[in-house]
Structures are given as C-alpha cells and as structure tokens.
Point group: C2
Amino acid sequence: MIFSSLNINSKEKIHIQIENHVKEEIEKGIFKKGSKLPSTREVSKVLGISRNSVILAYENLESEGVIKSLRGKGTFVAIEKKLHKGDLIIDWEERISDYGKVCEELDIVKTELPWKKGMISFKSIAPDESLFDLEEFKRAFFNVFSLEGDKLLNYGYAKGYKPLIDYIKGYMEKKGVNLQGKDLLITNGFTEGFDILLRAVTEKGDTIACEEPTHNTAIKIIKAQGLNIKSIPMDSDGIDTNLLEEALMDNPPKLVYLIPSYHNPTGIVMNGEKRQEVYRICEKYKIPIIEDGFNEELMYSGSHVAPLVSLCGKGNGIVYIGSFSKILFPGLRIGWVFGDEKLIDKLESIKRAKNIHSSALDQAVFHKYMESGAFKRYIKKIRKHYKAKYNFTLLQVKKYIPHECILGQGGLHVFIKLKAVNGREVLNECYKRGVVFMPGDIFFNNNNNGHQWIRIGFSRVKEEDIEKGIKIIGEVVKELM
Amino acid sequence: MIFSSLNINSKEKIHIQIENHVKEEIEKGIFKKGSKLPSTREVSKVLGISRNSVILAYENLESEGVIKSLRGKGTFVAIEKKLHKGDLIIDWEERISDYGKVCEELDIVKTELPWKKGMISFKSIAPDESLFDLEEFKRAFFNVFSLEGDKLLNYGYAKGYKPLIDYIKGYMEKKGVNLQGKDLLITNGFTEGFDILLRAVTEKGDTIACEEPTHNTAIKIIKAQGLNIKSIPMDSDGIDTNLLEEALMDNPPKLVYLIPSYHNPTGIVMNGEKRQEVYRICEKYKIPIIEDGFNEELMYSGSHVAPLVSLCGKGNGIVYIGSFSKILFPGLRIGWVFGDEKLIDKLESIKRAKNIHSSALDQAVFHKYMESGAFKRYIKKIRKHYKAKYNFTLLQVKKYIPHECILGQGGLHVFIKLKAVNGREVLNECYKRGVVFMPGDIFFNNNNNGHQWIRIGFSRVKEEDIEKGIKIIGEVVKELM
C-alpha cells in the first residue's frame, strides 16, 4: 500500500506527516490523478495511528484541492501535476509606489530615534491619559449601548453619527461660525480629514502654501500626494502677512494651510488683527484656506480668539478641520471637516470609498460623553493642569538651555531655537544620556531652516523628569557651543 | 454717543445687534481705528439693556479682532478698513479632483434608488443586528476597559492592537496559512485595506485583473485611483482559468484581485482544484494575488475550503484582506491585511499617513469578544439561521421569478439572471410597487454585461416580506417579458 513507505515520527503532528506524504508521492508521480486512496480506516490500521488523524489529513488535503472524496465511491487524487512549480515570490520593495515611498521616508516613528525604557521622552505631545475621566466614559458607553447597541454595531453613515454632527455644529456656532450653507463630515482624526480634503480638491503638482515651520504630518501628507509646498515664514506672532500676500500674488497656490491657534510646532496663537489681515489677503486673491483647529480648546489665558472660519460669514472659502482627539481620547480617532455643504457632500463619497465610515460606537459614546457636560469639566481641569506644567517647563528651559529664542504661548510643548548649535547633534548626544525630544527640522519644508530648533513636549513627563531632562539638554548644548 | 442711533429690536439677540452696529459704523467710516468705545456700563445705560449683553458683544468683537481692550485704558477700534471686501466665495464643485469625481459617480448610496419607509429592501447584505450577542460584547468592553481603559483612549499603534494581531495570525494559521515572513496590519474594514494596498503598489495607469462581475466597492476604488480593470469572465464554478491565463500571458496586469469564497455578487465558492489552478497560473507568470476573504466564515455546507493564501507556502505572492465585519459588528470597521512582512511594514507607514491607527478601544473590545469564545458560538448560530433563510429565499426565487440562471452557494444574497428582461427596468417598476434591490450591472466593469442580472440580499428581511417582495419582482418580470 502507498502508505507503507511512511515512517511516522514523534516530532511532527501526525496529520501533517500524512499530508506531506501524499503531496510528495503526487510530486514523485507515484500517486496519479484519479487514483484511489486507501480508506481512512485502512491507513490508521497500517500505520498504527488514530483514525482521527487520518480523517483530519484527508479533510485538509481535500480543502486544498489535492484530493477529492466522492460519496459512496471513495477518495481520489484530484490533481495530476506537481502542486505548483514553486512558491510565488514577489519583490514587494521594488514595487512600492512613489506615494508609499514618501509615506515611509517621512514616517517619523520609523526615522526618528526611538524611546527606550528608562529614557526621559519629550517627543510626545499626546495628552496625559491619567487625566481622562474614565468613569464618565464608562457611563457614556453603558447609556448609549443599552439604548442602541445593536444599531451602533451595524453599518452607520459615511458622514457620521447624526447626534455627534449636530453637537459639533452647535459647538462651531458658539465659536461665532455661520452655519448657513455649511456641513460637516466626521473623520478618523485630523489626519484623515486633511488627507481626504487634499485628495478631493488637488491634482498632482498643485501647490499648497503653508507656514514655515508647520505640522510635520501635514508636510508628509502634502508631499506624499505629489503636491508642492510654498513655505511662508513666520514672525514671533505668526505668519508674515507681507510674504503671504507676495506668495498669493506671484504664483497663486491652490490652497493655504494654516494653524492659527497653538501652532504646531511654534505654539504661537495668531491674534485677532492678524487673522483679519490673513483673511483679507486670501479673500483678495480668492484662495481658499484650510484652517487646522489644533488645540484651540487649550487656551491658557487671555480672551477667546475666534477661528478664521468665523470671519468668513456666509462665505464658503474656509474649510475647518477640527479634532478633540489632540487633547481628549486620541485613541478613538475622532475629528471632523467643516465647510461648504457641496464640498462636504463630495468628501462624504470619498470617505465611503476609503473606509465606509468611522466607528459608529466610538462616535456615539464620545457624543454621550460630551453631552453629559464632562468635556467642560475636563477642559477646565486640564487647562489648569497643563498651564502649571507649561510654566514649569518654560522656567526650566530658560534656566538651563542656552537659547536664541523660545516661541509659543502654551499648548503641550515648547519650541526652542538653540544658541549656535545643531538640534540633531544635541539630540544624538542627549540620547546617549537618556533624553529624547523632537528635532525641529522635521517641521520645516526646507530642513536647513530648522537645524537650530528643538521641540519639547511635556504633557506626559513628570515634573522631576522635566527638570532633570532639560538640565541634561542644557549641559549638552553648552558642551557643543 | 455712537450708540444713540441704534434701535434695539426684539427679534434678534441683543449682543448680535450691538456687534453688527459696531461693524456697520466701522464700515461707514464713523468708527475709526484707535477711537475709543464707550464703556459697557455707559452703553447698557444709554440703550436700556442689560450690561451682560454689552460685555458679551465686546468680547465677541475682540475675539474677532475688531476691537481691542487695553487694561486700565478702555476699549478701542482695532481695524481701520472695512472688515473685508466681501465673503470669500469658492466654486468647490469646479475644483473637485478626478479622484473625487469617480468616488461620487460610483457611490451607489448616492446613485441608486433609495429605500423609503415601508418598502421591502433587498439592497443590503449587512448582517442582521438582532443576532448580535450584545451581552457578551458589553462584558468584553467592561473587562478590557477596567484593565487598560486609559491606555486604549490614548494613541495606539499604526499596525494595530497587538493581542488582536496575534489572535488573527493564529486564526490564519488554523486555515493552513504559513506565517513565516508574514505580518498583519489592522485596517478600518476591507475597504481601507484594499485602498491602502493598491495605493502602496500601483501607479496611475496600471492594470488590475478582476473577476467579472466583482465587488462594486473594489471597482470603485480601482477606478478612483486611476487604474484600469482587466475583466476575466466567470463560469458557474468561478473564474475561467483559460481566460485568466490568456490575460496574464498577453499583457500582464500588476495584480490579480479575486474573491474565492461566496464571491460577491455571484455567491460562487471556488473549489479546491480551481484554487490550485489559479495559483499555478499566477505563479507561472509571477503576478501577485489580492485575495478577498469575504464571508469565508459563512460556509453553510460541505468541507472547509482553504484560502488561496494557504497554497502559497513560504511564498509571499498572495496578500489576503480579511474582515470579520461583513458578518459581525460592521459598525466597528475592523479588517486586516495579511502578507509579506516587508510589504506590511510599508502599509503601516501609509496607514499612519492616512489616519494614524484604527480605534484602539474597538480593537481591544473586539479582541476580548473573540477570545471569549463568543465568536464561535455566534458563527454556529448564524450559519444555521442564514442557511435556513437562504434556502427559503432560493425557493421563492425559483417559484416566482422567471430566470435564466441563479448563481451562488450561500452567503447573504442570491444573484439572478432574469429571463429576457433588463434588471434596471424591473427595478424601476418594482420601486413603484414598494420593492427595491441591487441592479446587477453595478458589479460589472462593462455595465452592459450585467443588464439582465439582479442581486437579492435577504439578511435583514423578514420571511413574509421575502416571499411578498420576490412575488412582486416575479410579477414585474413576467409583465416586461
């Protein structure tokens, strides 16, 4: 019998040995297509093994199409040639698109020095999760789940969970925004909103005007989509409006992308007058603005500054991308795009083509949480908390790090221009001493402009570590100066 | 005083009337830059209104940059020109990219006849949410949230939640897949996995070979990305392998996209022998395969058929896109891409550039649910349930609808070639009589090929409505024949 040449060993699972034996015999040409296999009972007897192993092997072989059992007739070899000539091997790296390449090159998680256990890390500007109100979140989950859990776990709407959309519209209205002719799409955070929006209204080769420096994820997305960046330098109070006007006049970009509040990475809050001026310029040259609402809620002091989009009145030329998740529950990835209703209608189709919709359950729980008043309490708490931490960090920086200037009015980070040294060199040396932070050049379109800058994120670092870490950075700067 | 010309009416909010008045006076040139405004106390007295309204108006005007208050000095007009020349108006429709246009044109939610209240709808192939085990899901949430709720609400990893990745790897291994050199990325459902994968390894103008007909979302994504489709016709047992070989020989496509199990829309399950043959052909011409694991779990009868990717051994030429969410919790949007580890590494960077990561909380709850054994129980339950419903539907179709053929071996839908009539004409007439379904042509790259076909999804329709609806379709077909 064809199984008599098989010696069962004790190392491998028995059914796998049987499967391999059958395949080998077919490849050797000993089992031909159509030839009948012995019954599972016979095989188990001949080999002195449990019949279940043989049954399992036959089932697996049949599911792979190697053998076929015909009711009442027996089991037969189903293929005549070798299983296949070889494994299908593809050189995927050689096949990666230009888009994929840029995404990887500019992926700071992969390219920047990684945090290692025991290190003090100033890399992150994520919120401190110990400040989250978990009890309130849990309550929101139970409330919403008992009400409509079944519906939330089935398909939802591409535009988003209706009560959340309405809530955010109300929230925008309170900021002085005119809702007429506007609509809103829920996205998986700012990143998706920005990616979808650019995809919707640009073609390869178009130009986007940005502040220099700017949010490094925005730089990545713009470049990955094959778009060009026109960088507009910033003063200590924000974008240089004369240079903005020149840029718009000379060679009009497709869009202007701006972060007016707690600008990343500088932390600058553009004042009301400058906002008016920026709006006036863009209106004059009819260039739409993408406003990044980044950390707008994190105002530590002074009066509320209205977002650019509130200046637009009934106009539709400003698209606002918001995200609570920079300060609250980033893990849920909830953001939104607010703008002209016809534009949002197109974005909805793109969202549907990208991932159908954002998690309906997350949106509903998040909405319940916001509605409960917990958000207001949370904002109050974290403003106080982060403001104290910001002031503490600023004090340490001023005390220990030789600098040309320190930018920003708050947020969860401090942006520092070092005195006469290269930020990356400082980083490399600090890394050896257990301290890591963000080199400033990743925020510049022209990396050379950023070589003296570093960004210190303090939100998740303990005060004692902030002092310790900044002291070390200061020592290294002094040594390298 | 400058406010004496203001007559407060009772229709509008008082603070808005004050704000508008100040803006109008500035535009008229009556308030000049630097001129001092009366104090809020004075204004409230003169106008006979509450001081709080005036304070609110001043605050809003200041946040917009229109006025400025200097501590101890008073409040002054901050701008000298008109607020702006006009509203920034953009013609967004004219600016929509080619990508955006295709996404909208092929968005069936927008282009197909909408369900209206009271109608019997066979459009959906979403699962019936009344079969979901909500208690088990709630338990999973509770377990995972008390353990690591704070972490799950903060940023997670682009590749996905580690325990879920490991769980799915084990799940793939049980299907006979070799894990060596392979890795896995969690995505927001099949749709995102397919979109990201194509974006990673194709450039505009490349060709993807597909079964004809095929999943309409796949057609949409391929076309939106500017790629071409090479359609390979199907027999009643799946793709025509002779035509597949011809297509690969003549003008090799970049990738072959296939749905071997419960193919959408035909419902055909490719048998083991054909799977071997398809693999042999692709191996011969070195063309990678994207395998859509669509509804693989929904096997009603017969033995388990191994996925194509299990035939690949240590080879890396097949990328498998899986999604539990076709049958379980679609609202959570959880799917995955499984394939060569270097490729997955690139996809991870793209995922990060698109939306950072999928909801960490959803992944963790989902994992807990799967791990509890609830998934196995659920699958057992729904197989029985949907099998009965499928058989019932099939019976009604055979009884009432004049057809040339009926395809499929299960799933949540039946694909029917009508006798000598156009599916869209039938649909239009049925719609008037309160029945709606999917016209078959949306699943064909060449729409003309599909004009006789219709798809009947039954998962969320009650048995009595199934019979009633199918009877009506049958009547219309007979009338039009």
